[in-house]
Symmetry: C3
Amino acid sequence: MRVIFHVDEEEKWPLALGNVKNMVAYCRQNASAYEIEVVANSQAVLTYRESGHLEAEMQALSQQGVKFAACQNALRALGISQEELSGFVHPVPAGVVELAQKQAQGFAYIKP
Amino acid sequence: MRVIFHVDEEEKWPLALGNVKNMVAYCRQNASAYEIEVVANSQAVLTYRESGHLEAEMQALSQQGVKFAACQNALRALGISQEELSGFVHPVPAGVVELAQKQAQGFAYIKP
Amino acid sequence: MRVIFHVDEEEKWPLALGNVKNMVAYCRQNASAYEIEVVANSQAVLTYRESGHLEAEMQALSQQGVKFAACQNALRALGISQEELSGFVHPVPAGVVELAQKQAQGFAYIKP
């Protein structure tokens, strides 16, 4: 199971994280290996700064191997520095490029 | 033509069904074989209970070979039993897993 | 880099064009060849008639090789003739068919 999730609106994070949790749970129950990455661009990168309940949920998923990527174009446009982001978030030069490259490598694309 | 459509908001159903109708019409006009599945998760599974004009549209598409899948995680979260769903709807353990597996089998993904 | 962007709501155009600009900029900086097509269906085809700042942005991207496709089913449903569209827009019989065929050819799908 190799999947990228795309999030570009802040209000879609709860749905997206629920989707990821369902996928991780399924894979663990069925002993399936998984590579799951969530790519946030546009306004959705703002959520990576928050230190609320979503950060705790992301952190838990990160500890189960889920990757969280932030579009650097969006960070720059919104004036967010790398230091403001949760420690488990890794920057990528352009969110859309990451989404295209992963699909070219065989990842499925899901937009919650 | 092998395609999965993803619907996770109730208000997107009319657009999604219009998309599916256009695709079926094109395939029939061009004598192209097709495998089309609509995967509903989150709030979108609520529409599978209704017995309004959308159900008639879905039923007609179902008779033309279109499959309609409902995420069991969403059904459980919303307290909907299998018996409440239209007869042509088939449950899948997790909508996002279905979306990923179909893409791995070569289906295109479209999110209306 | 081979990508199709899908736009079916008028208000998503600014985000979508920003995504495309980021992708083109990345490819030019990294000397990567690219094939990028934006497919508009449903209400999103309305924007192809406007002669405002979005048309100028689209025109500039078109000159950098980005293709802009309009779903003919949507044009017909909205009563828009080919003559009303910007010159760089090319019609396709069905937007969803275009999206599926490009993915079958190896294009990545992104829905802003």
